[in-house]
Symmetry: C2
Subunit: 159 residues, 2 copies
DNA sequence: CTTGACATTCCCACGATGGTAAGGTTTACG
DNA sequence: CGTAAACCTTACCATCGTGGGAATGTCAAG
């Protein structure tokens, strides 16, 4: 089974398969006389594992840990669960960040006439920090628009 | 005002200020005799604009468009609003993707004993595609775990 | 005058993925 | 058998936004 077939069978592109091998996520594949990588059912399974973990948003480093546990017959399911919970916590954090952004932006959008005149609360808001948060909806949490209040969680936008 | 002060005043790191200049997001700063970049209130305002837009999750390219509209006194607020709506739509899409991932993972986590035994539904699920979706909660939507059903929206994880 | 805090440019790195180019191999068809 | 298509290989570059560091130059305070 060549890399192209392995790619089709696993849903991981040939490019990525080589990359995963390079970074050590998968062991170096066997080679044919011509130097072609040869894959077997076992390898396909590992690639599928990787792709499903990617689909769940696990980073490659986390997948490495999952694979380690997968390979470890004496693992404790608690270890796997802990990893997954860490990951879901990270997902939740990012979701919260983005919802915050979306909420702030929604307020501005709703305040914008969207006609042929130049006046625009969106630009106004971006232009100058307001002292407090006058445009915020009453959702309890601050909306992270002001430059004050040190709420610059925006750092890890696509971490 | 040197770049360090501009950085402090705007909340944009000196590194990023130079980068924004390099990619043309801000005009090349004036220079002192020694070659130091010199910033004025006007420039600070532009940098603050950029930082706030970043905090709202706008990509640098989008910020470029926003700045163009900001500079254009004859702009139509509809154009700004359209940009913002495109961006919020993108945010919503990413949020939905991540919520999907989190939901799928939550199901697996809840099914995992998390004790000292090796059996783990999380690894089992990653290991082999199930034909149908037996573990799914009844939330109506499919949970995008199966390798079948072509639901690999996972591609644009951090786009 | 020295020292430390700045500034400059240039290069490298990340993470995960895609593209492309130059060259070798295998396969299918006439 | 010959040739062309379809594959494989490595190697390099790009993305996007950000940080780190080196080598070197400048400014301000002691």
């Amino acid at each position: 089974m060549n890399i192209g077939d392995a790619a089709k069978a696993s849903g991981v592109s040939a490019k990525m398969i080589r990359y995963y091998e390079q970074i050590g996520l998968i062991p170096a594949a066997a080679r044919t006389d011509a130097g072609y990588r040869a894959y077997h059912q076992r390898d396909i399974q590992r690639l599928q594992f990787i792709r499903r973990a990617r689909d769940l948003g696990f980073a490659v480093a986390e997948i490495g840990e999952l694979l380690g546990l997968w390979d470890d017959q004496s693992r404790q399911s608690a270890d796997v669960k802990r990893l997954a919970e860490q990951h879901i916590a990270e997902l939740d954090r990012r979701i919260a960040d983005m919802r915050q952004m979306a909420a702030s932006l929604r307020v501005l959008i709703d305040a914008c006439a969207g006609d042929d005149r130049p006046d625009c609360p969106i630009l106004n808001q971006l232009q100058q920090a307001q002292d407090e948060a006058p445009l915020m909806p009453e959702t309890g949490q601050g909306q992270c628009l002001s430059a004050t209040s040190g709420c610059h969680a925006g750092k890890k936008r696509q971490p």
